[in-house]
Each structure stands twice: as structure tokens, then as C-alpha cells.
Symmetry: C2
Subunit: 215 residues, 2 copies
Amino acid sequence: MRPGEPDDLRLDARLNRERILVAAREVFAERGIDAPMAAVARRAGVGVATLYRRFPTREALVRGAFADQMAACTRVLDEAVDDPDPWRGFRRLVEELCRLQSEERGFPEAFLAAFPDEAREHAQARAGAERAFTGLVRRAQAAGALRPDFHASDLLVVLVAHGGLVTALPGDRAASRRLVAYLLEGFRAGPRRGALPPPSPADFGSLPLTGGRSA
Amino acid sequence: MRPGEPDDLRLDARLNRERILVAAREVFAERGIDAPMAAVARRAGVGVATLYRRFPTREALVRGAFADQMAACTRVLDEAVDDPDPWRGFRRLVEELCRLQSEERGFPEAFLAAFPDEAREHAQARAGAERAFTGLVRRAQAAGALRPDFHASDLLVVLVAHGGLVTALPGDRAASRRLVAYLLEGFRAGPRRGALPPPSPADFGSLPLTGGRSA
């Protein structure tokens, strides 16, 4: 065995893994997160067996493909919650999550897919994120900046609608930013507000994995 | 020839046509407006030749399938434009178009598909609708009810985002109504408005026929 071989093998494995993850992001963006695993393998130029050896389930592949975005998402939430001005924190959270959606189609579905109810660990992570967000909402409402009838599920409504927009009009940053700006104005506390209809029963767990794509 | 035969034939033809249109609406809702014509024929239980004899092009089929919705859409616009209170007319227009979207998935794409730039007649119909809408926007702005930086293309942004929402969360009327209510609040003229980013360059002609489905 030559001295360099184990390192070379590790490098090969890493490159293979990276190639699969790039291919997965591309295929998910084009065909949705329920695209066949074989399509990802084909795009990556690896065999299906190799793909399954590295990523035994679709969930593992999705999680790997969007690990960076997921980390960005957590960072955005942490920063929003830490902002001493809760309305500014809330506003930035909505803007940044939508910006992440614009940059990587398929990401919202990935975000939701990464928190399946079955996996206890991730159910806890999701519950923690939801608690943090709900706390931010309450503080922004107590500060008189966010309307009192804003409901935590409205964030889901925003992300699903905005996800549909970036899928239909990819690259149209103006459309994305206008939608977000109008919604944030709608969220502001203020006079002359009509009563809202009751909140959506949807929660992140109930959303279909395929997001804005098909039923 | 028996006396009743021509009538029976006409009845048969009408039933066949109706069956095809019902099947087309179902298939478009499930698979998008670019679903194979053969899938529509299969669902309707007719041969592909029969389908093409009645609807020689996909556009003719789309137009037939959504003729009622199209008429409803025109009626909604006429009523909005005729409302003596331009803000109420504007608000009802947004609410009613979104309600139509919620009731019939595939409809926004159909609406857009029915006005292709190539067909002169429909280009004129679309231009007329756009003129009517722009006039309503100006009057609602002049009345001080609609924010002065609202742009006609924002209606497209709303319909595309809302279309993504009803595709991802079919039947969730609460989500649809919350989104619309927030956006209408965002459209209202009022104090403390931040500057909006520039309008989207999108127009109804530039939207992909497949709407919120795939690129």
C-alpha cells in the first residue's frame, strides 16, 4: 500500500459525496423533492448502489443536500430572536427566510422534510424553533409593532406562497421583494385594521413534502 | 332516419364534449396544464382521435375547460371597475380572483394561457383587461385609499404567490384568506410606509404556462 492511498481514497469519497449533493440540489430544484433517486444518481454520474450506500434514505439525501441552508436558517432564527428590537428581528427573519428560498429552489421543502414528526430528535429541534419564533412574535406584539392577531402559522402561509412565487418566476427578485414588503406592511400593528379570518390549521408537519409542486 | 336521431346525436356529442372538459379540468388540476392530451382522453374514456377532433389544440382544450371561470373572471373585473368606491372595487377584485383560484386549481394558468400574445383577438382582450385594471388602480390611488407606489404588475405577483399556496395547501381556505387579507392591508395607503423595491418586470405574457409547477 502506498503511503498516500488512504488519503486519496478519503478525497475520492468526499468528492463523490459532494458531486451527489450538487446533483441532488439541481434535480430537486428542477423536478421537486420527490424526484426519483435514480435521477440524482444519473446526474451525479454514480451508480444507484453508490448513492444508496452514502444516503440510505431520501430524507438523508435531502438533509445532506440542504445542510448549509438549514444551518443558515437556524442562524437567521437565532439572530432574529437575539435582536433587542423584536419587530426588527421579526422583519429580518421573514426577509431572510424568503431570501434563502429565492436563492435555492427546493429549500423550503427540504426545511420541512428535515423535521419529520417521526424522528424524535428533529421533532424536538422543530419544537424548539417554533417556541423561539412564538416568543419573538409575542415580544413584537407586546412592543405594539406586530398586529395582535398575527398567528405563528402565518409564517408558514408566507413561506408556502413565496415558495410558489420563486418556483413560478425564478430569478425575479423584484417580485419576491415586493411580496415580502407588502406582507410585512400587512403584519404591522396599526389603526383601521379589519378583522382577520381565523388562522390556517396548517403546521409545518402537515405540509406535503412536495411543497408548491403537486398534490 | 328516425325523427329523434339528429337530436340524440347532438345530445351524445354534447355529453362527450362535457365529459372531455370535466376530465381536462381534473387532469390539469392534478398534473398541470402541460399534462399529455392522451391523459385527458384516457380520463374521459374517449379515443385520442375524438379528443383532437373536438379540440384540435391544447389551447382550445384549455379555453373550453375553463370557459366558465374565464367568464367569471371577466365579470369580476367588470364589477370591480363599475364600483363607485374604487378601493372597494379593487379589494373585491383581489379577493374574488383569489377565491376563483382556490376553487379551481389550474385556473390561473388557464387564464394566462387563454391570452397568448400570438392570437390578436386575445391580445386585444388582454390589453383591454389591463387597461381597465390600471384605470381602477389610478382611481383608488387618487382617492387616497391605495398606496401610490402600487404597480399593476403586483396583481400578477399576488396571483402567482396565491396560486402556489392553493396548490400546496388545497382546501385550506383559511390560509388563502389570511394571505389575501394581509396583502390588502399592505396595499392600503397610510402613514409609516417604507419605500418599496422596484416593481417586478413580469407581465401576464411572460409567465410560463405551467404557473407554479415547474420551470
